[in-house]
Amino acid sequence: MQAILQGLDVLLPVAYAALVGLYAFAFAKGEDTYAKARKILLFATLGVHAVYFLLRGVKFGYFPLGSQAEFLSWVALSIGGVYALIENRTKSSKTGVFFLTLSFGMQTFATVLMEYSTKHPVLLENPVYALHAFFMVFGITALATGTIYALMYAVLSRQIKQRELGMFFKRLPPLTSLEKMTKTGTFAGFVLLGLGLVIGHLVAFTLPETVNHLDPKFIISDAIWIGYGIGIAFVKLRGLPGLKIAYLSIVWFTVLLVSVGLASHSFLQ
């Protein structure tokens, strides 16, 4: 089993690198080249990556999020997964090179740092906690992806208003697509993060030791999630200009990052 895991540890960065190559080629040419091959390779890579975690869980007997390397590998998978969802929904692959480069980088670091020991936090043996961790990672990645699209929107919108019609102007998806991608990423992140938080609260109730449910880190996390909810509802009901949605996404995600940093919340402890 370990030999298979080691093989996959080498194969995954190679597969992400191949994806980056294909998406970069299409981006540079400004055409949808090798679209079918890209799609097959993207889903195959994500599938193999998921199988890798399954095998790792079976081999070591815990949800594989117990080390820095495993965390980085999860981030790589979640970025790829969220991107695949958005590509599938918007039928636009023009931004793939940016996201898959992040996946490739994360997975490469993960492969370099990966260990094959059974040392892990006991909580990761709890399947409900594992589910909480899974949704949190995917939720935050989806929100980050939405924020990156928001950033692209802000850059492109500014370029168009100022008549700076450079390479990004020609290669990025149109503004309305970027707005849709921002909304898709943010909404997916809101749902996944919500699931993660609800399950997290359930885990806290079932733990044998006493947990302070008014711990600021819980309150801040919930408040940020509620903030996202209010924002989404406001945009849906009243509407906001695309640029304001973009700025709101960027600001709120920055708040999320700062709060996660301040609360020192980690799955690795």
Partner: protein, 424 residues
């Protein structure tokens, strides 16, 4: 003047002929159909006419002709052709072929990189093919030209980017909207400018049009042309709420849309992005509108800047296009040399055969067996004597180093012209 058959070209274009003369020299399809057989039969040459809004060009293959020989045929349809100030640019051989390739590539076009010219070159080729077997050389020349045109359009960016006001507007709209089929296009004004803009937007996929115009009749006409609806100008404020793309081209001396109007409209439309093109002079949309979030306003100067940038990008592609032209020109040369060397080889073989026959005729009183022996011997001798010169000619064509001087030398050494004349 050389009698060796080759391509000749007489060209009237924006480079050497004023617009009024170009207009008079333009050939319709019917005139071309009448003109081509006349010239072909009376001048004994293959001929093709390429006539577009910016050029009229006569391509011939045959013994070299001067414009003085050609102009009477043209003047039978276009009197202006005999005027002293009407003088074409003339090219011959390789340079004539190069010119056609540059035309097909749209390097010679007034609007560099325009797309129509390749279709026009294809039309001429179709006309050549309509008369089967009458113009094999020009048929091949146009095949090569079409190949050049296609390669340049796929391998270079010479034809990329918009270079007209309407297409530049569509190019900008594509940076804001992905799917044009769901967009609501509002044309404010019903003149030619808006009609052209609507055509470009329709070509990009737009299907929903509304025409807002002061004059109802013209507005209704334009709306009907694009299966859209008409609204009078006093309903402009209402259309601000539903439009995705608005094109303004009216003669109004005042702003038709102000920042205040638009701020209110944006609230009503839930801040959905709005793309506005103002190509009126004076402007119809207050430039302050540009600061409203979600509104993207462009005027004629912005569009001209886009065109200028695209043209600069196209200019940069010319060296790559020229390289493709040179490449195909070399292939064309090889083909032409092969075509030219074929009659030389045939003439050479005929010359040696005639000498063989002459010498055999002088041998009298031979037995049947001796005659047979001599026949075989002489044939073998001629074959061996011809082997090296023919191999030289053929391999020179393949290696692309056969020059017209080589062929000329062969014809002069054996006086092949004289034999050809005797035969004829």
């Amino acid at each position: 003047m050389s009698t060796t058959p080759d391509i000749s070209l007489f060209s009237f274009s924006h480079r050497n002929t004023p617009l009024d003369i170009r207009d008079e020299l333009a050939f319709s399809a019917e005139e071309t159909a009448q003109f081509v057989p006349q010239v072909r039969d009376q001048l004994g040459a293959e001929i093709a006419v390429l006539s577009t809004c910016n050029r009229t060009e006569f391509y011939l293959f045959g013994a070299q002709k001067s414009w003085d020989e050609m102009s009477p045929f043209v003047s039978s349809l276009k009197e202006i052709a005999v005027r002293a100030d009407v003088s074409p640019l003339q090219f011959r051989g390789r340079e004539a072929a190069r010119h056609l390739f540059r035309v097909a590539a749209s390097i010679e076009s007034l609007a560099l990189g325009e797309d129509q010219i390749l279709a026009q070159v294809k039309d001429v080729h179709r006309q050549i093919l309509d008369v089967e077997g009458k113009s094999p050389i020009l048929d091949r020349l146009y095949q090569y030209a079409i190949r050049v045109g296609k390669r340049i359009r796929t391998e270079t960016a010479l034809c990329a980017g918009a270079v007209s006001i309407s297409s530049a507007a569509v190019e900008l709209a594509k940076r804001i909207f992905e799917d044009f089929s769901t967009l609501h296009v509002v044309l404010v004004g019903a003149g030619e400018t808006n009609e052209s803009a609507a055509e470009h937007l329709k070509a990009a996929g737009a299907t929903r049009f509304t025409v807002v115009n002061r004059g109802e009749e013209r507005g209704q006409q334009l709306a009907a042309k694009f299966h859209g609806t008409y609204r009078p100008l006093d309903q402009l404020e209402e259309t601000l709420k539903i439009a995705d793309v608005m094109v303004f081209a009216t003669g109004s001396p005042d702003f038709l849309v102000t920042k205040k109007d638009l701020k209110k409209a944006m609230r009503d439309r839930s801040y959905k992005s709005l793309f506005m093109i103002d190509i009126s002079n004076p402007r119809n949309v207050d430039p302050k509108v540009s600061s409203v979030s979600g509104v993207f306003l462009f005027n004629i100067d912005d569009l001209e800047a886009v065109i200028k940038e695209n043209l600069t990008e196209r200019q940069k592609e010319i060296p790559r296009a020229e390289a493709i032209i040179d490449e195909v020109l070399t292939e064309w040369d090889t083909w032409m040399q092969a075509m030219k060397v074929r009659p030389t080889i045939a003439q050479l073989a005929q010359f040696f055969e005639s000498i063989r026959q002459q010498e055999l005729g002088r041998q009298k009183g031979l037995s049947e067996a001796d005659e047979e022996l001599l026949e075989q011997f002489s044939k073998s001798l001629v074959r061996k004597l011809l082997h090296n010169p023919i191999t030289f000619l053929r391999s020179s064509v393949e290696e692309q180093n056969l020059t017209p001087e080589h062929i000329d030398l062969v014809w002069r050494l054996f006086e092949l012209d004289r034999i050809q004349d005797d035969d004829s």
